[in-house]
Every structure is written in C-alpha cells, then in structure tokens.
Symmetry: C2
Subunit: 447 residues, 2 copies
C-alpha cells in the first residue's frame, strides 16, 4: 500500500543514518515500494543515499536509480565504480540501460557494456545509435514475437521463455519470416482462445506502428490519439525492432510542457534551477537582451518627443500603464492562439473569422479598460485633456496588441517554428514598442 | 496502418459530401481507424459531420464522439435526438458514458439514462455522483474481479463472461467476500500458471490503490510515480469500486499543463479561443485590471518626481527599459522556481542555498546588462551623468526582481496556492512597480 513520509519517520531515519544502523534501515525499507524509497532519498545527500542503496537488493537499487531524473542521476552515479554500475545496469530493461549509459562518461559506459549479459549487451548496443528524441531512442528491445502459423500453445511457450526478460507486456506481436510486422494478438484474446487455434486466425492486422526515426513528440501524439498502452517500432524495411510503452511517453509529454513553458517565460536553454550559476546566467541573457534592446529603442523614440515631454511632464506618468497593458494583452492573446494551434477545434473557423472574434474581444476589453482609467484619472488628476488621450491610446493599444498576439504565433507556426515562442518576451517587447508608438502618436495628433 | 490526410483526398471527400454520395463515403471510411475519422471531421462543419457519422456503424460513431474534446462535443451533440444518443452511449464504457451525460442538458441526460442497458445504467448512476476532478470521476466501473479461493480456470471463466463489457484490461483484481481489495494477478501470470493453481497462491498483495475522493492531479502523480498502466479505486471502506487507466491520466496531465500555462499568461478562467466573445473578454479582464492598477500606481508615483522630470526630461526615456527588464527577470526566475517546486531535486538545497544561487545569477546578469546599457547610452546619448544612474538602477532592478521572482512562488506554494500563479501578470506588475521605485530612488540619491 501507499507509504507516507512523516516528519517523525524522517527524523528517526536520519538518526539511523547518522549511526550507520544498517539493520534498522534494511528492516524498515523491506516492505516499501522502490518508488517510495526514491522519494525518501531526495531528503538526503548523495553519500547518505549511496549508503542506503548499498543495503538494498540490487534489483531494488536498479529500480531506484532508474527512477531518478537524469540530472540528479548523472551527479549521483559519479560516486559509483564501474563494477557496481555493471551489476545495476544488468537488472534494467534495454531502454533504461541505454538511457543511463548515455549519461555516463564514455570510458565508464564502455566498461559497463563489456560486463553486460550477452542478450542485453547486443540490445543496448543497437539502441545506443539512436538519438534520445526519436522513437528508436525511446523504445525497448524486449518484446514477445510470434509467427502467424503458430498455435496458441506455442505462443504461450514463447511467452514463458521471454517472461524473465520482458517485465511488463500486454500484446504479442506477430511477424513473418523476414521479421516484418503482420499484426498483434492481445493477452486477453490469447487467454480466451481454444489452445489449438492458429495465431493467424486471431491476429489483429489493424496495428498502428511507428518508425525508428519518428520524433518523440509525434510518438506521444500517435499513442494518445489511438489510446495505445504500447506501440511497436519498425525500421525502414518494416521489420519489428522494438516497442514503446506509455510510461515513457508520459515523460515526453511532461518534458514538452516544461519546454514550452520555458520558451514562454524567456529561458532559451533547457536549464534547471539547480544547474550552475553560469549556465543559469547564459540561459537567461538572450531574452533579457531583446528586452534591453526594446528598452533602448523606447528611450531613443521618446527622445523625439522631448519638447512635448518638457512641456507636459505628466505624459511620462502614463508610459508604464500603456506598456504594461500592451504586454499583458499580447501574451494573453498569443497564449490562446498557441493553445488552439495545438488542439484545433471541430470546426476550423479560418483566419478571417478568428481575427473578427479577436477584434471583438479587443474592442470590448479596450472599451472597459479605457473607461475605467478615464474615471480614475478624473478622480485622481482632475479634469485634464491628457485623461482622454491616455484612455484613447489605451484602447488602441489593446486592439493592436491583440492583433500582434494573434498573428505572430500563426506566422511562426506556418513557417515551422514552435508557436509558443510568440507568447514569450519577443511579443512582449514588440508590444511595448507598439504601445509607446501608439501613445505618442495619439498625443501628437490630439494635443 | 496510419492514414494521411492529403489535400487531394480532402477535396474529393468534400465533393462527395456536397453530392451526399453515401456509397463513396462509406467505402472510403470502412478501413480507417475511428481516431483518424475524428481528425478528418475537424475539417467539416457540424451538419456535414453528422451526415458522415450517420453512415457509419454505431460502434464507430460512439468511438468518434468519445474522442472529441468536450467543448466541441457539447455543441455537436445538440444536433442529436435523445434516442440517437441513447444508442451511442450504450456502446461506451461507463466512465466515458458518464462524461458525456455530464455535458448534456439534464432532461436529455435523464432520457438517455432511462434507455441504457441495465448494467451500464446502474454503473453510470453510481459514477455521476462524483466530481469530474476526483478519482471517482475518472474511474470506469468495468473490471475483472476474482476471489482468492478460485483457481486459474475459474478466473479465466470470469474473464470470458466479462470480456464483452471490459474492452481493455491487463490485470485481474482479487477481493474478499465483502468486496475488499486483497491484491491483483496480471494476465501474464495467469497465462503462465498451471490451470489448477489457486488465485491466492499467485496473488500480488503489493497493489497500489487510490480512494474515490483523491484529486485527479494526485492520481496522475501516483500512476506516473509507480509506472502503473491502471490503478484500482477503492471507497472509504476499502471496497473495490472501479479502476482508472493510464489514457485517462494522460488527459489529466495535458489539461494540467494547459491550466498552468493559462495562469502564467494571465487568463483567469478555463477558456478557449473559440468560446464566445463575452466569455473571452471576462476571462482576461481580471488580470488586465491588475496591470492597469499597477500602471495607475506608477503614474501617481511618478507624479511625486514631477520636479526632477521637468528638469531632466531624459529620466522618463529609461522608464520602459527599467520596467521591461524587471518584468522579464521576474518571470524567468519564478518560472524556474515553479519548475523545481514541481520536480524537487535529489538533494534539496534548502531556501538559503537557493537564495545564494539566485543572487549569484542575478549579480552576473545585472552586471552584464548594466555594462551593455552603459556602453550603448554612452554612444547614443553621449557622456551624461544619467547613464551611470540608469545602469546602476538596472543592476539593482535585476537583483530585486530575482528575489521577488524566487520568494513569491515559494510563499504561494507554502500556503497551498498553485505557484504557477506567481509567474503570471501578478509578479510582472509587482516588478514593474518595484523597478520604478528603485529607478527613482537611485535618481533621488545620485542626481
């Protein structure tokens, strides 16, 4: 059952750790699910964690190490000798083994490969040539293959043979002499069919497969579109070479959401808070520089209106209001457009209808905001001709920013860029400049 | 195999639709996976889509309608009579049936429930009392239950009986007389075990279950933590009442990412671009008003420095630069903190170490940006005492905004709010004001 990390337990556990009380630790962790032990270890440092792991059976150790996120694992495994690692990697499925080997220094990884069991070694070597972000890099080699002319009993025999290496499976894949994928048989069907029945008579030929070079995002899309718990992977000759399970794809979906969010918040490299100071700095500078460039252009632009500003200083007071609103409206609009580009609606409205709607929303928002600001300014600054100018400019800024926020992600998407880019600092900076232009143009025309 | 939507095919299909050429449509769609037909229908309007669906077997119709996203489905199903809907819902699993019934007007849904087959009706009525966003609202009632004192043959018999209603399953759940969950047996084990073996001898008691009232986010977390393809749901008495499969949880993860993104981009309601103009307007106004409030406070604040501004108009030129940088730094920082709150690292660094690192990154970024701006200003505006003030203010703004961006999500998280809130307009507005304050304070002190 589930396991709760209580404060009392943690304190008791830390005490046992300090005293290196191996009996206590071993006993208390015996019944605990490896995934819970992983969560527990996040509370301790690398050295303590290794001490705990060394007390556990190697099968549990390997599960825990496999559960770690890859950055944490990379630094944690630096404490391990190649021989220890070989023992651990030998316990893993081929896809997980390849992932870990990819993270290790090349020398260590060669030493480990040399020590792997023969089957696993050849599987891992085959997997290592694929990029991490394609189907070949996600797949595991372990699967149950059957021939169309076998009967159910022969199929079950094959499952028995493979059962030790294939830990979790729900489908038997059927291939021809040349290993070409013909179809699949679910375990459910196998259980319910009379033993002498031939595989070809219960074969489901309508099987969705992916090719080794398909990008991980596309694999995730296909699996969630067809509601698959696993998908067979074929090479360009149509031969079955592996399978991808849904748990790997859940990780892809989570990472993708994270990546989009980083783009939107102006972080240009895949970086985490606990990466080095220098890496964190470098990941942020590019977008910050775009903002700075926008700010410098703003400064130069306002320079042209020095005369007006010197005459009516209050003009400057409303620059933040105009710019903030332009930025906020732009981000809101583009975020919704990005969302609808990812999940198109049942009835695609077409660009024209979409723009009409965006304009309607903008007109309403602009009207409300302009009115509110007019009221407040009247109360705070009294009856001033600038009030009307500010509210009018605000109205136009809302309308223009909505337009830019709509059109930018659509254009980026059409030219093959990730539209989420548009919801980030790029669009904010554009809208800042646009807002300033609209504001000073309104002043120029009306005052 | 997979199906490609070519432009030629679409044109040909549209033509067949215009001519109401039912033979062509039926023939061409016969071999196509329902999920691909769903994608195809997104190209046509509601009336055309219904015409196509009516030509297909009711099992395929129900799969397609089940695939639609809920907003699209709500409007699409308005074209259907209750009798048609009853036929379709009768084909669905209990969880999908309950989802659709929840979206329909209460009168229609009552009519449909009355027309359902007895088993499905009682299952659906049981499901309808749960909220959409708890385990009870995600689960399906269809599952295979076995008793511990049965043997493997009896188990297979039970599977045979249920196989018609349970479309996809990989695990048999074992319960006692009172329906209390005792453990599980995988299909894999069932296939490999000698038929006379008792269930209790192959039972895996180490089964993770969730309770009906657990929130969907937590269900997703548990399933991905323990790598489960399905999880049994128990009520407060520990009785087995349903099961949740991984495909439902993939939807939860996707929706959650979308929700966080909406919060971060200042959209306060769950809204899509194709919702009504009024709903779109209402979802955006609250955050825009916060921005406006910030802008008005900025205006009032700058009013206090009217004398300085009148004397040196150029002070106003750099307000956009200062504010944009503060906003960008704040969003970047909080986005990384939110990420690390969601995925804690192996070694939790603690608040203090975290702040030291944030400050280091901020000092580096602030130093670079200040230097660059100093250089550019020197070139563009010549040797002016304001240049140094601007760069110094910029440096402090970067440092303060990093601090606010770090501390806000941590505080929100500690008090149980979604920390993603902090990466949105709230933190931008705070940093806008902060930036302005720092800038004018620096001017006041140095000029």
């Amino acid at each position: 059952m589930e396991f709760e990390l209580s404060k009392d337990f943690l304190e008791r556990f830390q005490q046992a750790l300090n005293e290196r009380d191996s009996d206590f630790i071993r006993t208390v962790l015996e019944e605990v699910n490896p995934a819970d032990i992983t969560a527990l270890l996040y509370e301790f440092n690398g050295e303590e964690s290794k001490y705990v792991l060394d007390l556990l059976p190697v099968a549990v150790q390997s599960k825990i190490i496999n559960d770690l996120d890859s950055d944490t694992r990379r630094s944690f495994l630096a404490n391990y000798a190649a021989t220890e690692l070989t023992e651990i990697v030998n316990q893993l499925d081929s896809d997980d083994a390849a992932d870990i080997l990819n993270e290790l220094p090349i020398k260590t990884s060669e030493e480990i490969i040399a020590g792997l069991e023969a089957d696993l070694r050849s599987q891992v070597i085959d997997l290592l040539r694929y990029d991490e972000n394609v189907a070949g890099g996600l797949m595991a080699k372990e699967l149950i293959k059957a021939r169309a002319d076998w009967n159910v009993v022969q199929c079950v025999e094959e499952i028995r043979k493979q059962a030790e290496s294939v830990t979790k499976f729900y489908t038997v894949y059927v291939v021809d002499d040349a290993d070409k994928l013909l179809g699949k048989v679910s375990l459910q069907k196998l259980i319910l069919t009379e033993p002498r029945t031939l595989v070809k008579d219960i074969l489901d030929e309508d099987v969705v497969s992916v090719e080794t070079y398909l990008e991980d995002r596309d694999v995730a899309e296909i699996m969630s579109k067809y509601d698959l718990e696993s998908v067979p992977v074929v090479n360009v000759q149509g031969q079955l070479v592996g399978r991808i399970t849904i748990d790997d794809v859940v990780d892809v979906i989570t990472e993708q959401a994270e990546e989009d969010r980083q783009l939107m918040t102006g972080i240009s490299e895949d970086v985490e808070e606990d990466d080095s100071v220098w890496r964190n700095t470098r990941a942020r500078l590019p977008w910050l520089l775009i903002g700075i460039l926008g700010g410098l252009i703003s400064a130069r632009f306002m320079g042209f209106f020095e005369a007006e500003l010197a005459q009516v200083t209050a003009i400057a007071f409303f620059v933040p209001l105009i710019q903030a609103t332009g930025g906020n409206v732009g981000i809101q609009t583009s975020s919704l457009v990005v969302q609808s580009l990812v999940n198109p609606g049942f009835v695609d409205e077409g660009l024209w209808k979409r723009l009409v709607k965006v304009f309607s929303v903008a007109l309403l928002n602009g009207f409300f905001l302009g009115l509110i600001v007019l009221g407040v300014n009247r109360l705070v600054f009294g009856n001033n001709p600038l009030n009307l100018v500010v509210s009018l400019a605000l109205f136009f800024v809302v309308v223009f920013a909505s337009f830019v926020g709509t059109i930018t992600p659509i254009i980026l998407n059409r030219f093959g860029f990730n539209p989420a880019l548009a919801a980030g600092p790029f669009i904010t900076t554009t809208n800042d400049l646009l807002g300033l232009g609209v504001y000073f143009l309104t002043i120029h025309l009306l005052m």
